[in-house]
């Protein structure tokens, strides 16, 4: 089987369509399972009561936000280095999902913070780093949105994403530093006492669900992007109904 033909966006389009249900359905099932375990099976936390359960959305969302940024940078980099349009389109598609998860993690963090610490926002290291990550996503999306020529948008995005990905550890470290300096005014949200096995299970199920969901939704968006950009490609009319 010649796999290289799938590097062409038009050829990949139907393949993506076939793959999506294999991720979307398990994602839905795992979401249901994870929420069930998280809200009904996992024990009540000794310190935080039941409010902590929002962690089952907050933590996987934060992890996905970070993971997807790296994936976005990798796809963008490959698209740039090998002049592979499909890879760049993947990066563009991932950016929106990654930004959404990051935003979700900030919002759920706020909902957790209010009952627990009394304020909607706390400047701890993790939340601050997540906020900065959201800024990085917004920068990438805005840059691509402002450039009319799609290939220039792809390549410019790649440079920005790669610069961003190298900076993320530096930013994270500097925020940690800043946070420890100003410790008096802040409180650590993710206090990690021993985590009960059922809580861990729920978290991992939700993480897997988020990952499956991401693949499905990124592929759906990718198909829209392909339709938008490949109007003049060979075989477009016959492959894309």
């Amino acid at each position: 089987m010649n796999l290289y033909k799938y590097a062409s966006p038009v050829n990949f389009y139907p393949l993506a369509g076939k793959i999506i249900p294999w991720f979307a359905i398990p994602a839905a099932l795992l979401f249901a399972a994870g929420l069930y375990v998280g809200f009904f099976v996992a024990p009540t936390d000794a310190q935080q009561g039941d409010v902590y359960r929002i962690m089952f959305i907050h933590v996987p969302a934060a992890w996905m936000g970070m993971f997807l940024y790296v994936m976005m940078a990798i796809y963008a980099g490959i698209g740039w280095a090998f002049n592979a349009r499909l890879s760049s389109m993947m990066a563009t598609s991932i950016s929106v999902t990654g930004a959404s998860f990051t935003f979700l993690s900030l919002v759920t963090g706020a909902f957790w913070g209010k009952p627990t610490w009394g304020t909607w926002w706390v400047w701890d290291a993790r939340m601050t780093s997540t906020l900065i990550l959201l800024f990085l996503y917004v920068g990438f999306i805005s840059l691509q949105a402002s450039i009319d020529d799609p290939r220039r948008a792809d390549r410019a995005g790649a440079v920005l994403a790669l610069v961003g990905v190298i900076n993320v550890p530096i930013i994270y470290y500097s925020v940690q530093w800043w946070n420890t300096l100003h410790q008096g005014a802040t409180i650590r949200i993710l206090n990690k006492p021993t985590i009960a096995p059922k809580m861990l299970a729920a978290m991992l199920i939700m993480l897997a669900a988020c990952w499956l969901y991401s693949v499905a939704v990124v592929l759906v968006r990718l198909r829209y992007i392909i339709v938008e950009r490949e109007q003049n490609a060979a075989r477009f009319a016959e492959v894309v109904a």
């Binding site: 840059l143 410019a156 920005l160 790669l162 500097s174 300096l181």
Partner: protein, 219 residues
């Protein structure tokens, strides 16, 4: 060959002095706005001074970044620069150096004067000066990446800020942190070392990223 590009940009900046001076005044005005917005209580001002001066420096730098490549792009000299036998890395370095001398050094020099408005001690003013001296090259270097990526785009002024300000955060943290340490009476050394490390890293990698971005924007 570096000297030709630096000389050229310095002469051009001199002949358009108004632009340079207006950025400097922007810096001064923004810093002065904070006491007006927050209140003149000395202790409070001393606490906010490092952050305020540094944020104002970041914003003033953003203003001058738009000019780094835009003018050359419009009159066709930028593509000629890409076609010289000089490595683009060096040309970028030359332009960034000129921009730093013209746009950032005035900020560095005037900052201690402004620091006086916030009742900072002499040692703290010295630390402020050093952190800006050490940190402003990073603002120019990383800013050049943003300027190169957004060449010729509508709304590029605001877009540069969106792209570059998140990347400035480590510099802000360590720069303001050093001044803060000095105010608290502790040693600013660790902050300064980290700031210096970022400067060296930017000096090594940023011009390469900017070169790549220039080629992409000029396609």
């Amino acid at each position: 060959m570096l000297r030709w590009i630096v000389w050229r940009d310095l002469i051009l900046a001199w002949r358009r002095r108004a632009d340079v001076l207006s950025t400097l005044f922007f810096f001064v005005i923004v810093v002065s706005l904070f006491p007006l917005g927050i209140g003149p209580e000395t202790q409070l001002l001393r606490t906010i001074a490092p952050g305020v001066v540094w944020v104002a420096a970041l914003l003033a730098s953003m203003l001058s970044l738009g000019r780094l490549f835009a003018n050359d792009y419009q009159d066709g000299t930028l593509e000629q620069l890409l076609l010289t036998p000089q490595p683009l890395y060096l040309i970028v370095l030359g332009k960034v150096l000129a921009q730093w001398l013209v746009a950032e050094i005035p900020l560095v020099l005037i900052a201690p004067l402004i620091g006086v408005q916030f009742d900072l001690s002499r040692e703290t003013l010295l630390v402020l000066f050093v952190t800006l001296l050490l940190g402003t090259p990073v603002l120019s270097l990383i800013g050049s990446i943003g300027a190169a990526l957004t060449l010729g785009l509508r709304g590029s002024g605001v877009l540069i800020s969106l792209l570059v300000l998140p990347l400035y955060i480590p510099v802000l943290i360590f720069g303001a942190g050093a001044v803060d340490a000095s105010i608290m009476g502790s040693s600013p050394q660790s902050n300064l070392y980290l700031l210096g490390a970022i400067t060296v890293l930017s000096l090594t990698f940023a011009p390469w990223a900017t070169s790549a971005a220039l080629r992409i924007s000029l396609e």
